[in-house]
Symmetry: C2
Subunit: 559 residues, 2 copies
Amino acid sequence: MQNNTKPLSDLEIALQSPMQPITAIAEKAGIPEDALELYGKHKAKIDTTKLAHLQADAKVVLVTAINPTPAGEGKSTVTVGLADAMKQLDQKVMVALREPSLGPVMGIKGGATGGGYAQVLPMDEINLHFTGDLHAITTANNALAAFIDNHIHRGNELNIDPRRILWKRVLDMNDRSLRHVMVGLGGPAQGVPREDGFDITVASEIMAIFCLAKDYADLKQRLSEIVIGYTYDRKPVFVKDLAVQGALTLLLKDAFKPNLVQTIEGTPAIIHGGPFANIAHGCNSIQATNTARKLADLVITESGFGADLGAEKFMNLKSVQGNLKPDAVVIVATARALKMHGGVDKAELKGENVEAIKNGIENLAQHIQTIRKFGVEPVVALNRFITDTTAELEAIQDWCKANNVKIALTNVWEKGGEGGLELAKEVLAVLEQPNNFKPLYNMEDSIESKIETIVKEVYGGAGVKISDQALKQIADIKKHGWDQLGVCMAKTQYSLTDQPKLLGRPTDFTITVREVIPKLGAKFLVCLTGDVMTMPGLPKEPAALRMDIDEDGNPIGLF
Amino acid sequence: MQNNTKPLSDLEIALQSPMQPITAIAEKAGIPEDALELYGKHKAKIDTTKLAHLQADAKVVLVTAINPTPAGEGKSTVTVGLADAMKQLDQKVMVALREPSLGPVMGIKGGATGGGYAQVLPMDEINLHFTGDLHAITTANNALAAFIDNHIHRGNELNIDPRRILWKRVLDMNDRSLRHVMVGLGGPAQGVPREDGFDITVASEIMAIFCLAKDYADLKQRLSEIVIGYTYDRKPVFVKDLAVQGALTLLLKDAFKPNLVQTIEGTPAIIHGGPFANIAHGCNSIQATNTARKLADLVITESGFGADLGAEKFMNLKSVQGNLKPDAVVIVATARALKMHGGVDKAELKGENVEAIKNGIENLAQHIQTIRKFGVEPVVALNRFITDTTAELEAIQDWCKANNVKIALTNVWEKGGEGGLELAKEVLAVLEQPNNFKPLYNMEDSIESKIETIVKEVYGGAGVKISDQALKQIADIKKHGWDQLGVCMAKTQYSLTDQPKLLGRPTDFTITVREVIPKLGAKFLVCLTGDVMTMPGLPKEPAALRMDIDEDGNPIGLF
């Protein structure tokens, strides 16, 4: 950071960072020319059918975090910075990230492309439409909705009960007014009136499927298995009953190819897919991770929200379905965020407060325990902020030492890969050792048992309360023979409990499962606990107010 | 067409036609390498800021048609075939087309990329997501909707009346259930309940603006001028009041660059923008046409629907705003379509029926008269169908001869450019002569007078009835000083009247203008006559049912 001047914004740093042609990045990554489809000079799609001969055998480092707070943890930034550090250490490394949703970009949040000198480029394009993947998913999702309503309007041969349609429309926008809508109004020529709602695109089951499918055949198969609702006599209706899985697959055919970009330091990055980490599993696509594993020796990837949601699902869902495993896990924490977990308000973060850190560190302790339960020894990345005091950082380091936890200071926002060298060395040491990775449950366990395992082992809860509605749904799921699927907990990301305001490491709490929704295409059962937001709203002053372009079309004000 | 075998589908012909790398097409078209942004191997965007030094001085041939019928006319096919014929005649030619909307592709219609051996390639990609332009427009449109509802939810400082919001949401999908919806349901945290509706993306004012804007500055200026609704005290509310024109422009920045593709015969084609030809002006973007005019000596372009809608708007709106003029006009007609205008049902089209043609040709006569009124001598392209009889074709040719109308037979579906040589020669002859092109009205004329001019001179109507509501709206428009804009008639495409079932050339009819809606960004006033469909529905058996991909991701069943 420059002295005596306003620090540069992420966008300004990104725009002044020179990029290599994506063809050069691809060549160094070993991607054959005929597998590369350029999208402008600095983005490309990879035709994975041309890489079928390669083994997906690179080691995988998963970057996760404590429960997120408004203070910010910098998980994507550490992911990018760690990859750049590995490159500085001469590792053949690729980074595999989720792609950002436009809705939050227009709203409040920073991008999902890292920050400072640990960013993927071109950050403006990645954060806007990128290569159109999310738009293709939106289109496929809404085409299916239109096919459903059209089927009912045109005679409803399948006997679909319009009151029991599960399939919602989506937009890649923060738009609270679309959460609950009535559609089909205006008379008999305008469709059948019914209650409906819009989710944000990343909450679509198609996004989850897109990220879990191995190849086109698997993609189509999974799409065909989506339950879109029930008939008047309560039989499930599948996409295959509408016979539109081919059209949906066709709409996704180009989007399904992973996207290649680069970090500021020229490390190849694959950015592909980005499902929610609450009602979905929160990881980039299996195709992306496994493509990176074919091309590199080491893949740095991330999962959504904190380790209780994203990492748990990376290990119990993505790893199992994608036939991969984490060889090392990094847990990102900051002094600021730990202070918030220790009870400090965001407005009070500036002052030194070692006591709060000592309380808040219990949140980190729970996530360390979780990762160890999966058979992996985690490394804590203590991501420095300019306001952190030495006493605060030492408190965290001392705690780790006392508890036999590996920890490394990182400073990648300011220094790029160089700021991640200490972390990289710790991670490489972990990678030297084989681990005993194992998912926490077996698919054959009962649904209730799978939920209980997660609540007790991952959240540190005392038990599970399953609502009458959820019990009925579980009975139905068993009746249909869908119970041997993974469990996808839809819980607030802010707390280990289902209460967003309970920070730190609460004990003796019970998690209430209100509903269990089968997502057969994604091959998991979504367990709703508390209110889970699937369509965000905009703040009073949306980020959009600062956005603009100059006369040559260059972006302004994007973060 | 092959004998004794099932004729190939458009998709099969397209997939088996070899393509040149788009870099080769660009080089031959004289596009500098630094102006080219590749989207895969066969699509590219053109950065027009790199062509600022070139003069847009090519001649323009506009292809239009008689009023469309279910028999099909083949306007895009003739446009492509004519360009290929011109290339065969050693003209330095480019074709400039509208880009297809995904909604109709999923529904019923063929693509908008021509047919047979007169197609633009890659037809599957162009008809699906192409380079994402329509998705960017959808996103900008719906971001604006979200900003409006968020503003009201967050305190409504601008005093916007939720009952008087003009701005609708859009999707690029045929989805009748979204025509009339209630949004903002579910309680105080979920926005403000109000009536709303979705149009198809091509009906968005942003699409019209996108196609009429000269450059980024003009684009942003026009976006800022959109009237999104009225306050409780009936004052107009503009996008600039919400201060989001910068964000909307940013969302459109890459989409705004024209797309380069190629025809089956390797003629460079620019495909960019595609507004409705009823509530908008129905032509590809001014940027696309003028970029083609910079690069080629001759540009073949088309307008939407029949000459009463598309060509009228090309001449009175696009030409005026874009500082261009049509140097020649082609009117496409088929024997089959003329039979329908002569009273024959679609089911009865197979048999020879010269009498019906003699009646139906009056529809063509009206459009010929229209083009002549604009000061241009048209050429009729009689587009052959395999079932046409010699007597039918001769009846049309004889009529043209008797009425001093230039006519050429075309057979481009079967023969590509070769099938358009006769037409190309007729057009070249017309281009030899200067024309006296002039719009039919002056912007200074009163709104009523501009409407009456179009109704009498273009539709052949006797007069105009303006509803009380429209009279009130016109008074308001005058009060605001918006009356010196062009008039954009929103009328059924099937008839010269406002009654879709009145084919041929009706006389002594009156057009009723029910509403006049200011579109200040597009710089025209939309005059609604009859019911104008702005969100299509799907048929009972959507085209999607036939669509699929094979295991390598190749498309199946797309037309």
